[in-house]
C-alpha cells in the first residue's frame, strides 16, 4: 500500500514536470499568441487588450495552473488554424489511435510470448535457429517500412485490403477492425521480434540459476519447472520491455497512420506541426505524455504484484 502511494506521488510529480515543460514549449517559446492572432493588423493598443483578454499578462505559474486545470477538465484551448475547440477536433480521432495501439499491443503479446517460450524450450534445434535469424531480420525493419511492404504485398499483390481505403468505425465496425489489422501488424512485427528474443534469453538465463536445480531435485517435470518456476521470473524483464514498447507503439502509430492514411491523432499532429497550430500540438503531446506516464505507473504496480522483492524496498 505504501508502495502504491509512493508510486502515485511519483507519477504526480512526473505529470507536473512534463506538463510544465509542454506548457513552456508551446505557450511561451513560440512567441506571443496575441501577435500571431492579430497578425498584420496588430497595434500596441490592440495587443495589450487582447493579451488581457487571453490572460497573457499574468505571471507564468498562474498561467500554468490555469492551463493545467482547464486541461484536466477537458478544455484544451482553441485551434489557431480552424478556430474550433481542440477538444472537438480530438474527440473523433483519439479512439482510432487508441484502437490501433491496443490492437498492436495485443498482437505483440499473442504472437511473441508463445513463440519466445518455445524458442527457449527447443533451444539448439532448427526451429530455434530459424526464429533467431528471423528475429534479427524483422527487428531491423522499421515499422513504417514494414507498413509500406504490407501495403504492397497484402494490398497490391494479394488484394487482401484496399490501401488508403480507410473504413470509419461509424460505417462498419468489422470493416474498420479488418482494415486496422494491417497497420497494427506493421507496428507489432518489429516489437514482436524483439520480445521473442528477450523472452528467450530471459528464460534461458533463469534456467541456469540454482533454484531451477532445486525444483528439479524435488521431482518436478521439465514442463512444471518451466511453467511453475522459470516463467514467472523470466517475465520480469519482459514486463519492463512491454511497458517501454507500449509507449513506443503510441509513437509508432503516429507514423503508421500516415502510411495507411488513417485519420487518427497522428495525422492531425503532423498537419498541426506543419501549420504551427500550437494549441493542437500541445494538447496532443500532453495527452500522449499522460498516457505514457500512466503506462509506466501501471508497469511499476505490476512489478510489485509479481515480484515480492520490490514490495519491501521499492
Amino acid at each position: 500500500m505504501k508502495y502504491i502511494i509512493r508510486k502515485t506521488a511519483s507519477m504526480a510529480v512526473t505529470v507536473l514536470i512534463v506538463s510544465f515543460l509542454v506548457f513552456l514549449a508551446f505557450s511561451v517559446i513560440p512567441g506571443d499568441p496575441a501577435v500571431a492572432k492579430l497578425g498584420t493588423s496588430a497595434t500596441p493598443e490592440k495587443l495589450v487588450k487582447l493579451r488581457e483578454e487571453l490572460g497573457l499578462n499574468r505571471p507564468l505559474p498562474v498561467r500554468y495552473f490555469e492551463w493545467i486545470k482547464s486541461f484536466l477538465f477537458g478544455d484544451m484551448g482553441t485551434s489557431y488554424s480552424y478556430g474550433v475547440s481542440v477538444r472537438s477536433m480530438l474527440a473523433g480521432k483519439l479512439p482510432i489511435t487508441f484502437c490501433l495501439t491496443g490492437m498492436s499491443f495485443v498482437l505483440i503479446i499473442v504472437i511473441s510470448i508463445p513463440l519466445g517460450i518455445s524458442a527457449a524450450k527447443y533451444e539448439d534445434t532448427l526451429f530455434s535457429k530459424i526464429t533467431d535469424v528471423l528475429n534479427q531480420a524483422v527487428m531491423a525493419v522499421p515499422a513504417f517500412f514494414t507498413g509500406i511492404l504490407i501495403t504492397y504485398a497484402a494490398g497490391l499483390v494479394l488484394h487482401l485490403f484496399t490501401p488508403g481505403g480507410y473504413v470509419s468505425y461509424r460505417e462498419s465496425m468489422g470493416g474498420f477492425l479488418y482494415y486496422m489489422l494491417f497497420p497494427a501488424l506493421a507496428i507489432a512485427l518489429p516489437k514482436t521480434a524483439m520480445n521473442v528474443r528477450l523472452l528467450k534469453s530471459s528464460v534461458l538465463k533463469e534456467a541456469k540459476l540454482d533454484y531451477v536445480r532445486t525444483a528439479y531435485s524435488r521431482g518436478n517435470s521439465t514442463n512444471d519447472v518451466l511453467y511453475k518456476h522459470v516463467l514467472k521470473n523470466a517475465l520480469i524483464p519482459v514486463i519492463t520491455f512491454l511497458g517501454m514498447t507500449l509507449s513506443d507503439i503510441v509513437a509508432g502509430s503516429l507514423i503508421i497512420e500516415q502510411v495507411f492514411s488513417i485519420p487518427g491523432i497522428g495525422r492531425m499532429l503532423i498537419t498541426s506541426i506543419g501549420n504551427r497550430d500550437y494549441p493542437v500540438v500541445g494538447a496532443i503531446i500532453t495527452i500522449v505524455a499522460f498516457i505514457v506516464i500512466f503506462i509506466n505507473y501501471i508497469v511499476d504496480i505490476l512489478y510489485q504484484v509479481i515480484d515480492p522483492r520490490t514490495r519491501r524496498q521499492g
Binding site: I17, A140, V141, P142, I148, T151, I255, V259, S272, A289
Partner: protein, 266 residues
Amino acid sequence: MKRKRLLNHKLIAGAVITAFVVLVSAAGFFYTPYDPNMMDAASKFAGISLKHPLGCDNFGRDILSRIISGSGTTLVIAFCTVLIGSVGGMLAGAVTGYFGGAADEIIMRFNDAVLAFPSILLALVFISVIGSGKYKVILALGIVFIPSFARLVRAEFIKCRSMDYVSSAKLMGASDLRIMFVHILPNTMKVMLSSVAIGFNNAVLAEAGMSFLGIGVVPPDSSLGRMLSEAQAFIFVKPSYAIFSGAMIVLMILGFSMLSEGLEAL
C-alpha cells in the same frame, strides 16, 4: 578460467555491413553516378537498366545516386546526433553518478520523465518549436539522446564508485576529477561503445521516421526517410523505389544493431 572469444560472428557480420554502408555513403560525397537532384523527364520511372542500375523516380532522377547521397545525409545526421548525445550524456552521467545527492535525484527524475517518451515524439516537440531542417534535426535528436546515454554512464559510475580501486585511489589522495576521468571513465568504454552502436541504430530510425513524416530534412537535402515517403506515393507504379530505399535503412539498422550486440558479447 574461461577464455572469452575475441570475435564473434555477430560482431563480424555487423562490422562488415556497417563498413559497407559507411563506405558507400562516404563515397557518395565525392562521386555519385548522376547528380541526385538532376531531373530528366525522358527517363521518368525508367526501369532497371545498365544506365540506371536501380531505375529512376517520378522526376527521372537516378535512384541509385539518390540512395547513395541520401544514406550520406542520414549517416551524417546520425553521427552528429550520437556525438552530441554521447558526449553530453557522458558528462551528465559522470557528474550525477559520481557525486550522487540531491542534484542527482532531481536530474534523474527529470531524466526518467524524458526517457519514458519515445525519442521521436520528443524530437517532434523540438521540431515543432524550432522548425525543421538538417541542422535542427541534429540538434533536436542530439538533445533527445542525451538522457539515455546519461542514464547508462551514471549506472556505470555508480557501479564503479563503490569499487575498492576507487576507494584506494581516494586513500592515496586522488582528486575527484582524476578519479572520474582517469580511473573510472576508461572502464565505462565497453558499455559506451556498444550503446553508441545502438545509438546510431536509434538515430537512423528516428531521422528516417521524422523525414518520412516530412518534418525532418527539407529539400534539396534528401535522406532515406524522405525518399521512402516520396516513394510511397508511387508504390503502385514503381515499388522498387520504396523497396530499395527501405532496404538501405534496414541494412544500416541491421549493421549497427549486430555491431552493438557483438560488442556487448565481447
